[in-house]
Symmetry: C2
């Protein structure tokens, strides 16, 4: 968990939890440290990364091969969850956490859209990730770019 | 929690939780029942809805007035979390949960992009929601439509 910067403000976090998450897999990328990660994933020219799905959920991948783009939700393990005002430039100027896309937020869930290159059993090969190696996966689903979903 | 349809398959859910969520607010919409909700939110012509933020997190809204579009993450309370194969059309044909955008998934987190119309204290007025009244909010952040984020 990072240190507080000048001007940043914390709140008292809730004493009880409202819902629980199960990690359904891990994201495998070339980046071992947050400072090595690209600013934004590149779903066309970025490196090929792996999504390793927990065997408990393998059957939930059925039919995934036919999807071109996937929306991933993942958990940013190292985030501070108590900041309500942050200073992105570390210059004393602050703004509210919900006005920022910072990983430090009450529920540190991030999203990425990736292109699916292939599947090898419990593993998906994708382009477009920008997170650290080993990041826990919360969910994946087809991405239709905001167009109506053809499922029904 | 809904009944299982013909052909659908459940898995044994994990015995322990991996991470916890805190609800940071509630979404207030005109729809009291899932069957009344629109298929997809309309951020231009949809009804004006309210996001009520928990007072603990009010200060995290600082600066939000200057954002035009917000990405919301919310929790689909009534979802089944144990389905690995689902039959969207209820016709015996099934596919994997991760190949679908169904609310029934291991971690039932949904997302919407909305337009921000205004703020009144702890309340944001938005267009583009499609969820049931009272849905718990997990996160909100500016949406830049995939363009680089101007924060740093």
């Amino acid at each position: 968990m990072g240190a507080i910067r000048p001007g940043e403000v914390c709140t008292a976090v809730p004493e009880r939890n409202d819902a629980a998450l199960w990690f359904v897999g891990r994201l495998r990328t070339p980046w071992q440290n947050p400072r090595d990660c690209p600013r934004q994933g590149d779903a066309v020219a970025g490196p090929v990364c792996r999504i390793e799905i927990d065997p408990r959920w393998t059957e939930a991948l059925t039919g995934i091969e036919r999807k071109e783009r996937l929306l991933l939700l993942y958990w940013m393990d190292g985030a501070r969850r108590d900041l309500v005002r942050q200073s992105p430039r570390n210059d004393g100027a602050t703004t509210g956490t919900f006005s920022l896309r910072s990983p430090n937020r009450p529920n540190p869930v991030a999203s990425s859209v990736v292109t699916l290159l292939g599947r090898e059993g419990d593993v998906l090969l994708v382009r477009g990730l920008d997170c650290v190696d080993g990041t826990p996966l919360i969910d994946l689903k087809p991405d239709y770019g905001g167009r109506p979903c053809p499922e029904h």
